[in-house]
């Protein structure tokens, strides 16, 4: 039989996405490539949690956040809290924190972050900027206090 025309070795396999740039029209093949790590350098990301009532009608204060994470390297993570005041205005506060080590250990670690945010209907959104490092959250605990006595007349 005749010899094959070219070919590739079967030692490496990737899921390739055929893409085209909107500016200029250059084409290329891209991949969500885990060998390049979890630090997307051109796109940030976010993840919102549910809106927490805590206790109906009361105004809780989030004192701190306890982040249990896997150390995949240094990452900067934003914790954006939003909530609502009694005058129906939305308020927010963002706390930045740094996770991980320069040489990733792949170990699970804990970071405690001071917050100090008071509002009703609190919602946490994790924000990761483009190129801000790899993030992998195992568990996240918000600690705070709320008035348990009757507030209404």
């Amino acid at each position: 039989m005749a010899q094959s025309n070219g070919g590739v070795s079967t030692v490496s396999r990737l899921t390739l996405f055929p893409m085209q740039e909107t500016a200029g029209g250059a084409t290329g093949f891209y991949a969500f490539d885990p060998s390049a790590g979890y630090d997307e350098s051109q796109s940030g990301g976010f993840y919102s949690f549910k809106i927490e009532e805590v206790l109906p009608g009361r105004t809780p204060t989030i004192g701190q956040a306890i982040i249990k994470y896997r150390d995949l390297g240094v990452a900067v993570l934003g914790l954006m809290f939003t909530g609502v005041q009694d005058d129906q205005q939305i308020v927010s506060k963002t706390v930045m924190t740094m996770l991980g080590n320069l040489v990733p250990t792949n170990r699970i670690m804990t970071k405690i972050v001071g917050v100090g945010f008071t509002a009703k209907d609190v919602q946490l959104t994790l924000q990761r900027g483009a190129g801000a490092g790899p993030v992998s959250i195992v568990k996240l605990v918000l600690c705070g206090r709320v008035e348990t006595k009757q507030e209404f007349s």
């Binding site: 250059a26 796109s43 790899p134």
Partner: protein, 450 residues
């Protein structure tokens, strides 16, 4: 889960076991703790909430026209080829004489010019690659010859592997002069028959093109170049004139096939009868019903197939037919309504060798970027990815061989695996190094030669 509040007002809200995914169909305050009302570029990896892998450019494309698909197949010499298509034809990755991994290692293999706006439909059959994409051609490349071909050596003057001679053309297509060149929007295979669906026929003699959007045309059993049912009655065609819509996709699961229309699905399976090799049963054939509304949303992996209907996203298997849009459905449908190009979907088991992410992903071009909704077929949740700004997906993603040896870094692997000292379990390289360090210290203290 209700928040636990102590008598002094202290409370804790705990989030873990991330496996719910996107939920846009309940109020943000009423969703379960493991869901998210909004997210982008995070994945739920082994119940960890993780930033997604980097979306990295691996190769430049062969030219400046949109890439219509990419695929790997094995030829008769057991050599694997990775190919892609654009509007100028077929290209091969890392051909002989070029280094593997070169920036633009594509060599043109020519063949018929595909329709520039349709993703390619392809099939490897008997160590040969076959493809079409809505034009009046079925082309092939065997991995050995220097170029792809759209010619049928048994039918003079044809421009498609699927062809009918001048002598038989008036019988096969009344009023035509022939030779006929046959193509389709979709290509598949069942029981050793190649299948063309949503058919286009070019009467080469008269220069007239005929469209049969509700026709399925199959080759003779084991003869992928024989489509002329006047010459071989095992080839044939079926026009679904009793249904009100066009064919929008086809999948086969080895034992049977599903032919999708906008408002319906037709099941078909082999009969063993040479004259009528398939029997067809409309699952429903009403004016309105569940069908595949986006031609390139349909894809299969083994016995599992997924597609998008007007009102839902479905997964079908040999004995099941399940809605999977779940609590993310409305977000996906809203983005599909805004698509600036062809939404394309695929079932992909891995992102790279050794990194499993078994997902049905819907890529939606949105003017200046592509949003990818990932459905985890093992954990049954959706999460949206937003790839790099300024990039539009133009063809179906596919798991292909690239010929470049890669080693996954430790962060991509479960702890304790993929290393020489790994236990295959929860014992990480970190601890192994630590243990080794203390052992060496001990041996040094006691004077043991290292």
């Amino acid at each position: 889960m209700a928040v636990a509040i102590k008598s002094d007002g202290y409370f804790e809200i705990s989030y873990s076991g991330f496996d719910g995914g996107l939920n846009v169909q309940e109020p943000e305050s009423e969703i379960d703790d493991n869901f998210t009302p909004a997210a982008s570029n995070f994945q739920l990896r082994n119940k960890e909430l993780r930033s997604r892998p980097s979306f990295t450019k691996k190769y430049s494309g062969p030219g400046r026209s949109p890439i219509l698909g990419v695929f790997s197949f094995v030829d008769a010499n057991s050599v694997t080829h990775t190919v892609c298509w654009d509007s100028t034809g077929l290209w091969q990755l890392a051909p002989a004489g070029q280094p593997v991994g070169a920036l633009t290692p594509w060599t043109q293999l020519f063949g018929p010019n595909p329709v520039p706006t349709n993703p390619i439909s392809y099939k490897a059959y008997a160590q040969t690659l076959y493809y079409t994409n809505g034009g009046s051609f079925l082309a092939s490349w065997d991995g050995i010859s220097l170029a792809a071909t759209g010619a049928n050596s048994g039918v003079a003057g044809s421009t498609s592997i699927a062809a009918v001679s001048v002598a038989d053309a008036p019988t096969v297509l009344p009023g035509s002069t022939g030779p006929l060149s046959i193509g389709g929007l979709f290509l598949s295979e069942l029981d050793n028959h190649l299948l063309l669906a949503n058919v286009t026929v070019l009467d080469n003699g008269a220069g007239v093109t005929y469209n049969f959007p509700n026709r399925l045309w199959w080759s003779a059993n084991g003869l992928p170049a024989q489509w002329d049912f006047a010459a071989n009655t095992n080839a044939g065609e079926n026009d679904f004139l009793d249904v009100p819509d066009n064919i929008t996709g086809i999948i086969t699961t080895g034992a049977a096939g599903y032919l999708f229309r906008t408002n319906g699905i037709t099941f078909f399976d082999p009969t063993g009868n040479g004259l009528l090799p398939f029997q067809f049963d409309h699952l429903w054939a009403s004016e309105h019903g569940i069908g595949n509304v986006l031609p390139w949303s349909i894809h299969s992996y083994g016995s599992v197939g997924c597609f998008i209907s007007t009102e839902q996203i479905y997964k079908l298997g040999i004995s099941s037919f399940d809605p999977i849009g779940g609590k993310a459905r409305d977000a996906i449908m809203a983005d599909l309504a805004l698509a600036s190009g062809n939404p394309i979907a695929a079932i992909v088991p891995t992102e790279s060798r050794g990194y499993i992410y078994y997902t049905y992903r819907i890529s939606i071009p949105l003017a200046t970027f592509t949003r990818v909704y990932m459905y985890d077929l093992e954990l049954n949740h959706w999460l949206p990815f937003w790839d790099v700004p300024g990039l539009i997906q133009t063809g179906r993603e596919e798991e292909v061989w690239t010929g470049i040896l890669q080693a996954l870094p430790p962060s991509t692997q479960p702890p304790g695996t993929a290393s020489l000292v790994g236990t295959g379990g929860n014992y990480s390289q970190y601890y192994a190094n630590l243990a080794n360090y203390y052992l060496r210290q001990y041996y040094t203290q006691v004077g043991y030669p290292l």
